[in-house]
Structure formats: structure tokens, C-alpha cells
């Protein structure tokens, strides 16, 4: 199987599986909406304050929500033996993994990008800032997905894998959070979001290029 066919296989299979377990994906989205909705209730209803903290809250909520869906990326395949067959297939494992992670991103992160404007409206963000927030999520979530994929593959078979995964991934996600939430703030201050978006884009490219190989290596290690 060529790399392209392997990516397509992983993408189509995992999207088909995601369609079969829509409830699990809905939980991720509901979690995101709930967390972003709780902050205005917990803080004072001051429009200026809410608009100021909105990007940070949206980003933290997106980070936690993406963490919520991570264990299902490899653990189910590991438990039922599909991952063994993936590792033994006459196809490049990095490409199979890339297809899976892409499907995971489409199923759990892309809806967050589309939901972010909703959160922005809730917090009274101006339209320009909402656009930048959505753009940062679009560029930043692939980095989170790949960091998470590497973590998920490394914690395969480990006891308390899900909790370990959070401890492993969250510190690594800090730069993404800083630049993602900082972009809106920076554009509001009149500095423009160009630099933040460029850095996030660079991170996305790096993670898409190297992520598949590192993740595939971690999957192979999990069998040894």
C-alpha cells in the first residue's frame, strides 16, 4: 500500500468508526461549551472583563476538551488487536497513523474551531477578534492533536494511562496556549496577530511533518 492509500485508509476507517460513536464526540463538544459557559457564571458579569479573558478561556477549554478525546485515539485499537494488525500491515505505519490522527482532528477538533465563535459571542468579543480566535484554534489544534497522539502512543498499556497522558501532554501544550490566546490580545493592542499566527502555523507544519514518524515509533515501542 502506498503512503497516500494508507493515509486514506486510516482517515476513512476512523471517520466511519467516529460516526458509529457520535455520543463520545458529542461529549467533547458539550464539555467545551459547558466550560466556556461556566466562567461568566463564576465571575462577575462585567462585559469588559469577560471580553478580555475570553480568548484564554476558549483556549484552555479547547485544550482540556481535546485531552478528553485523546485516550480513544489508540487505546481501543490496542485493546482489540487492530493496532497489532496496523503495525504488521504492508503499509507505512506513519501514514496509517497520520490518517488516524487526521480523522481524530476532524472529528473532535474541527467542531471546536467551528464552535469557538459561539463562545466568542457569549463573551462579547468583537467580530474581528472572533475571527482571529477561530484562526488560532485552526492552526493550534493540529499541534495539540499531534502532541496528544505521541503521548497517547507512549502511554499505551500503562496503568492509569489517561491521567498520565494529561500530565505528559499539558506541559508541552503551554507554548501553543500562550501564542493561541496571545494572538487576540495582541491584535486588540494594535500590534496585529501576524507573529502569533505565524508561530502557530510553523508549529502546525512541524508537528504534521514529524508527528507521524514519532507516533509510529512510539506505537512500535509499545509492542516491545
Amino acid at each position: 500500500m502506498t503512503a497516500g492509500a494508507a493515509i486514506a485508509w486510516g482517515l476513512r476507517r476512523d471517520l466511519a468508526l467516529a460516526m458509529r460513536s457520535r455520543a463520545e464526540i458529542a461529549i467533547v463538544l458539550v464539555f467545551f461549551v459547558l466550560v466556556t459557559s461556566l466562567f461568566p457564571l463564576g465571575l462577575e458579569p462585567d462585559p469588559v472583563l469577560l471580553a478580555k479573558i475570553a480568548p484564554g478561556i476558549a483556549w484552555v477549554a479547547a485544550l482540556l476538551a481535546s485531552l478528553l478525546g485523546l485516550p480513544r485515539l489508540f487505546a481501543a485499537d490496542h485493546a482489540d488487536g487492530s493496532l497489532e494488525q496496523l503495525a504488521l500491515a504492508p503499509a507505512p505505519l506513519p501514514a496509517l497513523v497520520a490518517g488516524k490522527v487526521f480523522a481524530h482532528w476532524v472529528a473532535t477538533s474541527l467542531p471546536l474551531v467551528l464552535l469557538a465563535p459561539l463562545a466568542g459571542i457569549q463573551f462579547g468579543l468583537e467580530p474581528g477578534a472572533i475571527g482571529i480566535l477561530a484562526a488560532t484554534l485552526l492552526l493550534g489544534t493540529p499541534v495539540l492533536a499531534w502532541l496528544g497522539a505521541i503521548g497517547a502512543a507512549l502511554t499505551l498499556g500503562a496503568r492509569g494511562g489517561a491521567a498520565l497522558l494529561a500530565l505528559l501532554v499539558l506541559p508541552l501544550a503551554v507554548p501553543v496556549l500562550v501564542f493561541g490566546a496571545g494572538a487576540v490580545e495582541s491584535s486588540r493592542a494594535g500590534l496585529g496577530a501576524q507573529a502569533h499566527l505565524s508561530l502557530l502555523g510553523a508549529g502546525a507544519i512541524l508537528s504534521v511533518v514529524f508527528g507521524p514518524f514519532v507516533t509510529a515509533l512510539a506505537v512500535r515501542i509499545s509492542f516491545e
Binding site: W9, L17, D80, S82, E84, L88, A89, A91, L96, F223
Partner: protein, 218 residues
């Protein structure tokens, strides 16, 4: 059946293979040669390392010593060619609970690089007696029917060497006979197989018997 894929050079040579579980050596000094039309019946008490040996051969575990050579080349060094030569079926089915039998087979065959048209799937499921269960979710199949789905995969792919772990567990009498026929046809076509089993497999061709010793001084 698989004759078109098999050439004379299909040969598995294992020398001095040793595997460990943690710090305990499960077995060492395992060696054998396997040629076209031959199969190994891998026996031994529970926990002696049969599954570990099969996994190490497939490349899912790392042996602590020894060499595995396929067509004269070390398998660890030519992984792609090796993976294209083997069909491994371990304890885990590699099937998704919430997909139907036919869908599971379709994704697996596509991953194996084999054609998986609806007509082909129907034919394969029919040959293992699952035509009426094609749309049934995997989790609703009985243990024996799950094994039969595994047999359908073996029928559908063209690999010279089969590595099978307890292939007849949970199969009824007709299922065991079916497995015997399938393995017999595979061997008759010049295929090779290694089966870890406690049961007598109804295969006409006499196996090479390999017994892994139980407890050994460590």
C-alpha cells in the same frame, strides 16, 4: 489456492531464538527450518511462551537472542518484505465491536492490500458460513463465529506464511474441519504455517512438532 504467490525460495530459518518475559527467560535455543508445504505445530504447557514466540516471529516483540531469516534475509532488517509475507492472527481479533462482520472484514482486507469488493466479501463470508451474519455487529457474534470471521480473512489474503495462535479455540466440529481444509489447501499450494495449539488439528499433512519446554532453570 495461494500457489501463484509462492516461489521456491519461501523458507523460514530460525536459529537460537530466545525470548524473555520481564527478567525470566521463557525459552532459548529454539531453532527450526520451514519450507513450502510444511507446518509447525507449536505445543507446550500454558505460559511456556508459545504466543511470545509467534509475536517475536511476527515482529511484535523483540527476542533477546537468535536470528529469524526469511528467504535468507533477516526479518528485522527487511520489515516491509516480511510483513508482506506473513499473516498473523493472535489472541486479539483486531475487529471492531460496533462494526458489522462484513465491514470488519472489508477494512482488514483493505489494510492487507487485498481487493474487498462486496461480491468478494459475500463469497468469503459464505465460505466460512457467515453469510447470514454479514451485517451483524461483531459484538453480537458468538466466539466461534468470530473465529470463522478470522478464517475468512485467511481465505481472503495471499501470504505465504501464516502465524496462528490457537486458531481452532471455540470452533465447533464443522468449524475445525473447515479450518483443516483451509490450512490443508494453503499448505498444498506451497504455503507455510506455524500454529500454536493444544488441540489436534484435522490437517492431512503431518506437522513438524515443536514443544517448548515448561519450567526451566533460570
Amino acid at each position: 489456492m495461494n500457489g501463484d504467490d509462492v516461489v521456491d525460495a519461501d523458507r523460514l530459518e530460525v536459529e537460537g531464538l530466545a525470548c524473555a518475559a520481564g527478567v525470566r527467560t521463557l525459552f532459548d535455543g529454539v531453532g527450526f527450518r520451514l519450507g513450502p508445504g510444511q507446518w509447525i505445530r507449536l505445543g507446550g504447557p500454558n505460559g511456556c511462551g508459545k504466543s511470545t514466540l509467534l509475536r517475536a516471529l511476527a515482529g511484535l516483540g523483540r527476542p533477546i537472542a537468535g536470528s529469524i531469516r526469511w528467504r535468507g534475509a533477516a526479518t528485522a532488517a527487511s520489515r516491509d518484505a516480511w510483513h508482506a509475507a506473513i499473516a498473523y492472527q493472535g489472541h486479539l481479533p483486531g475487529c471492531k465491536d460496533n462494526l458489522g462482520a462484513a465491514d470488519n472484514l472489508r477494512w482488514q482486507l483493505a489494510l492487507d492490500g487485498e481487493p474487498a469488493t462486496p461480491a468478494r466479501l459475500r463469497e468469503l463470508l459464505g465460505r466460512v458460513g457467515l453469510e447470514r451474519q454479514a451485517r451483524l455487529d461483531y459484538q453480537r457474534l458468538s466466539a466461534g463465529q468470530r473465529r470463522r470471521l478470522g478464517l475468512a480473512r485467511l481465505l481472503g489474503i495471499h501470504r505465504p506464511l501464516w502465524l496462528l495462535d490457537e486458531p481452532t479455540t471455540a470452533l465447533d466440529a464443522s468449524g475445525q474441519a473447515l479450518f483443516g481444509q483451509i490450512l490443508g489447501a494453503h499448505l498444498g499450494g506451497g504455503g507455510l504455517a506455524i500454529c500454536a495449539t493444544h488441540l489436534d488439528l484435522p490437517v492431512a499433512i503431518e506437522p513438524i512438532r515443536l514443544e517448548l519446554g515448561g519450567a526451566r532453570p533460570s
